[in-house]
């Protein structure tokens, strides 16, 4: 895969948005001619790919998918999030049938994954206009750092501020591996199609995007976002964990504009008590 042009990489503000929300969305980024073609291609099925196949080799038998991942904006986002030549974990065509009665439970994919300095992303491509009735993917902004296993969150039906995807044809979103999500019930007369690819990074995910704006104020504002479903106290822990992730992917462990990490790791070693009151002061040598 050629290196994407710098103008197609994500900015630091966009990366901070991803670190805060666990998602990055590009509306109608896939051209109409591909969207028109997509349903037939997805219906026919995409050839299977062995786990861990390099992206450049994964879709040589699927011209459509090759085109999709090489669209400049899509390739730029993949590079920014997981770096050059990620491997394909798996891919899947998801079809929610018209008037299908069931919604998926809220879940995280695969199994609990507590990596703090690496992450996978899932590309989700929607070839049709998705209306609310069609049951577009439900996802919960800011849920990706919660340590829960797969569908153990199935009891949660609705969370304040959740995203019920409504989007124009050709929309692509990238989701952090941990985000809580699920396919919603399709109450419309149309079958709904979605194509998903999970990518594993093969490099350290440090400063892979366009970092020109790394220290702009908007980066801090994105990282400081609160979400309506957060509990008051746990919402603060979310910011702590978010800053830790940002420090990991920027390689700057001093970045902490709101001091969430700094104040609870501050353990000064300098002792200034009078020598007579200072148990750490060296004892005067006794004269023999």
């Amino acid at each position: 895969m050629p290196h994407p042009h710098r103008k197609h990489l994500l900015t630091s503000v966009q990366m901070a948005q991803f670190v805060a929300t666990g998602a990055f969305r590009m509306d109608a980024v896939v051209p109409d001619d591909m969207n028109q073609q997509a349903i037939e291609v997805l219906k026919a099925g995409i050839p299977g790919v062995p786990y861990g196949t390099p992206l450049s080799e994964a879709f040589v038998d699927s011209e459509f998918v090759e085109r999709l991942v090489q669209l400049p904006e899509v390739a730029g986002a993949i590079h920014s999030l997981v770096g050059p030549e990620p491997t394909v974990d798996h891919h899947a065509v998801h079809i929610r049938k018209a008037h299908e009665g069931e919604a998926q439970n809220l879940h995280g994919d695969a199994i609990i994954d507590v990596r703090t300095d690496a992450f996978d992303v899932q590309l989700m491509y929607y070839p049709q206009d998705v209306t609310l009735e069609m049951g577009g993917t439900l996802s919960v902004p800011g849920s990706h750092l919660r340590r829960t296993n797969e569908s153990d969150t199935g009891r949660y039906q609705n969370l304040r501020g959740q995203t019920r995807l409504v989007c124009p044809a050709g929309t692509v979103q990238f989701l952090h591996h941990g985000i809580w999500h699920g396919g919603r019930k399709n109450d419309s007369d149309l079958d709904r199609y979605m194509f998903k690819i999970r990518f594993n990074p093969t490099v350290r995910q440090v400063r892979l995007w366009n970092t020109d704006d790394l220290y702009e104020e908007q980066v801090a504002a994105e990282l400081e976002q609160n979400f309506p479903w957060y509990e008051n106290a746990t919402g603060r822990l979310e910011k702590y964990n978010r800053i830790k992730l940002w420090q990991a992917i920027t390689g700057d462990d001093t970045y902490d504009p709101n001091y969430w990490v700094t104040r609870v790791s501050n353990r000064p070693q300098r002792v200034v008590a009078d020598r007579s009151n200072n148990p750490h002061a060296k004892q005067k040598k006794e004269m023999v």
């Binding site: 069931e102 919604a103 998926q104 439970n105 809220l106 049951g135 439900l138 750092l145 919660r146 340590r147 829960t148 153990d152 969150t153 199935g154 009891r155 949660y156 039906q157 609705n158 969370l159 304040r160 959740q162 019920r164 699920g182 919603r184 019930k185 309506p228 479903w229 957060y230 509990e231 008051n232 106290a233 746990t234 822990l237 979310e238 702590y240 964990n241």
Partner: protein, 98 residues
């Protein structure tokens, strides 16, 4: 004389369950998440079916006749896991018989 509890078949009553997730451990705190299960089979609530909570606070549910029957305990974090985030902490189960 020993009283014998009536069965649901005799009373015709079924349990409706409302689960509210609140912003703090206080029952009058803001609702941040919700789920409903309807033992009457009249309604079929499911994942992602609404963006609007049924009540603003847990107390509002009590005022509307829901009976609280379980609240999550307040447990200290496990040592070494004080900064971990996981399930929603403040879960309250309510019921109505209908």
């Amino acid at each position: 004389m020993t009283a014998t509890a009536e069965t649901p078949q005799q009373t015709g009553l079924r349990q409706q369950v409302l689960v509210l997730y609140l912003a703090s451990s206080a029952l009058d705190a803001r609702v941040v998440g919700w789920s409903t299960y309807d033992g009457t089979g009249e309604t079929h609530p499911t994942t992602g079916d609404s963006d609007v909570p049924p009540y603003e606070t847990g107390l509002d549910a009590l005022k509307d006749g829901w009976r609280l029957f379980q609240a999550s305990q307040l447990n200290p974090p496990y040592p070494g896991h004080e900064y971990d985030v996981s399930f929603l902490k403040h879960e309250f189960f309510f019921e109505k018989l209908a």
